[in-house]
């Protein structure tokens, strides 16, 4: 399954693993890369030396390409940007802002920069400053999200750019991947389905919540702060949304969310944790190895495309 993205990134399948903070560490990343996709270390919440250690551990587990995702709001971002060059990482994805301050350094070092974008204007700006591709991420995704859906965002970004586009948000099986290709994407980025992979280190409670989730079980918090986040609903989100409705201060609301992602990932705290997951969680019903997930999605994509295309072109 060759696309512009498999060629650009030197990978077997056009599947990237989303840079989920506190979750996407060396075990998951190496498993995805070894299975033919692109694993991506999430540097969100880490300092530069922790990122360096994760890169080294990943290299011990795989000789395939892998990437690092940087949250640009992370105060350590300038140091992490340097570590990426020093450790010879070949792919960087960026979120929460624009990577322009680091572009020169990265491009000179041969790093392929793939910003995550949620609008056409930002995508165009990223192309102009030297991005190799972009991830167009719809609001079906878990975690920090934009406003547009994948269905609406991807074709508009594809039309506006000359560089390849990777679709993200709401893609969890071969039907989703086939749909993304039809919209003009050259690859997909998947988060939620990898959350429940055997190699993923999140607490078993986290996996169970995703596996049991139904279509309507995710909610969006923090819309009023301008940084909306999609999470599975629980006692914490109910309380948060109540405070938000009452117009409580940011400080008051942050008391609830401080450290809540870690509570979900490491402690499996079902009431107080922030269980970030996409809308597609409702579709995901089994824990598999990363290799099984990628193979299943790729094979299903081929079948779906062949059968559907035949139906509509007969």
């Amino acid at each position: 399954m060759q696309t512009q993205i498999t060629k650009l990134l030197n990978i077997t399948y056009p599947v990237l693993q989303g840079g989920m903070a506190n979750i996407a560490e060396h075990n998951l990343v190496a498993a995805v890369s070894n299975a033919g996709g692109l694993g991506i270390i999430a540097a969100g919440g880490m300092n530069a030396e922790q990122v360096r250690a994760e890169i080294k551990k990943t290299k011990e587990l795989t000789d395939k390409p892998f990437g690092v995702n940087i949250m640009l709001l992370n105060p350590e971002a300038p140091q992490i940007a340097k570590v990426i060059v020093e450790e010879g990482v070949t792919v960087v994805t960026t979120g929460a802002g624009t990577p322009e301050p680091y572009m020169k350094e990265w491009l000179e070092a041969g790093v392929k920069v793939i910003p995550v974008v949620a609008s056409v204007a930002l995508a165009k700006r990223m192309q102009r400053c030297g991005a190799a591709a972009v991830v167009a991420e719809g609001c079906e995704s878990g975690g920090h999200i934009g406003e547009l859906t994948t269905m609406a965002l991807v074709p508009q970004v594809v039309d506006a750019l000359d560089i390849p586009v990777i679709a993200a948000g709401g893609i969890g099986d071969g039907r989703g991947m086939a749909a993304a290709f039809m919209l003009g994407a050259q690859a997909v980025q998947i988060g939620t389905r990898f959350l429940v992979s055997k190699e993923c280190i999140v607490h078993q409670n986290y996996k169970e919540l995703v596996l049991k989730a139904k279509d309507i079980d995710s909610v969006v918090t923090s819309r009023t702060t301008g940084h909306p986040v999609r999470v599975l609903r629980n006692a914490m989100t109910r309380e948060y949304l109540k405070l938000e409705k009452e117009g409580k201060s940011l400080e008051e609301m942050e008391k609830l969310t401080l450290g809540s992602l870690r509570k979900a990932v490491f402690d499996g705290d079902k009431a107080g944790g922030s269980f970030m997951a996409g809308q597609i969680a409702g579709l995901i019903s089994k824990e598999q190895t990363v290799a099984e997930i990628i193979q299943e999605i790729v094979e299903e994509t081929k079948v779906v495309m062949k059968e559907r295309v035949a139906t509509f072109t007969e």
Binding site: T98, S119, A121, E147, G226
Partner: protein, 76 residues
């Protein structure tokens, strides 16, 4: 310059130009978020044929500042 910017922003936000004053706070008073800002900045670049540095984008809190910055660029 300021008049044109007000017109462009009003058009983008589907507001009346009278609702936007040079000192109106973009975020707090107009509800402009980061996607809106980049949309507006890209439109400004096209309109005035300039390149706006990303570092300064986050410092803009009102249209007067944008106008001053753009005038500075054009004066160069």
């Amino acid at each position: 310059m300021l008049e044109k910017l007000t017109e462009m922003l009003a058009d983008q936000l589907k507001m009346d130009v009278s609702e936007i004053q040079p000192e109106t706070n973009l975020k707090d008073d107009l509800g402009v978020d980061s996607l809106d800002i980049f949309e507006f900045i890209m439109a400004c670049e096209e309109e005035f044929d300039v390149e706006i540095d990303t570092d300064v984008v986050s410092e803009f809190t009102n249209l007067q500042q944008v106008a001053d910055y753009l005038q500075g660029l054009q004066g160069e």
